[in-house]
């Protein structure tokens, strides 16, 4: 999993049938120490996140291991909203 910040959303009326009902958010990658990275991902939101939230993202085929995304054409999902990060160093 990686951490990222929600920086926007994507709307698409014309889309693959199985993607209907999903909310798509644009997530910018962050280092765990809070440094923003350049990479961005479009993720299916499963936790009702909003712009500005720090979130946890699962990628790849693991993103299809939920009741909602099972067997759907999805490769990145938001699985949690980050409350706190504890770093040892």
């Amino acid at each position: 999993m990686f951490i990222g910040k929600v920086v926007g959303s994507v709307w698409a009326t014309r889309k693959e049938e199985r993607l209907k009902g999903f909310k798509f958010l644009i997530v910018q990658h962050y280092e765990v120490d809070g440094t923003p990275l350049r990479d961005h991902h479009i993720c299916v939101d499963l936790v009702d996140a909003g712009v500005g939230d720090m979130v946890l993202v699962v990628r790849g085929s693991s993103a299809r291991q939920t009741e909602k995304t099972k067997e759907k054409p999805v490769d990145a999902i938001i699985v949690g909203v980050v409350d706190r990060i504890d770093l040892e160093k």
Binding site: M1, E31, V32, V47, Q65, T66, T69, K70, V79, D83
Partner: protein, 86 residues
């Protein structure tokens, strides 16, 4: 599987139901000679690891096989504690 060192944790109250009860730990990926590669990731803990522990973890779709319910979204799961390394 790869090896990593636990360097922290992530707390998320609002999360996908199936992840409830699991701790999410921050790993620093270790390479040859247990040297940090610079890569960091967040993994689901199944062995009650703590800060400073060197652990091994499974990735990608296989990471869900290590969990109680396979329909749990994890792309990295800690499955063992490294006690000795040669």
């Amino acid at each position: 599987m790869r090896i990593g060192k636990v360097i922290g944790s992530v707390h998320a109250t609002r999360k996908v139901q199936s992840l409830t009860g699991y701790r999410l730990l921050i790993l620093e990926v270790l390479g040859k000679g247990l040297k940090p590669t610079g890569e960091k990731l967040i993994a689901v803990d199944t062995i009650d690891a703590g800060p400073g522990d060197v652990v091994y973890f499974v990735e990608a779709r296989d990471a869900t096989l290590a969990l109680k319910h396979e329909l749990t979204p994890s792309d990295a799961t800690i499955v063992g504690l490294v006690e000795d390394f040669e």
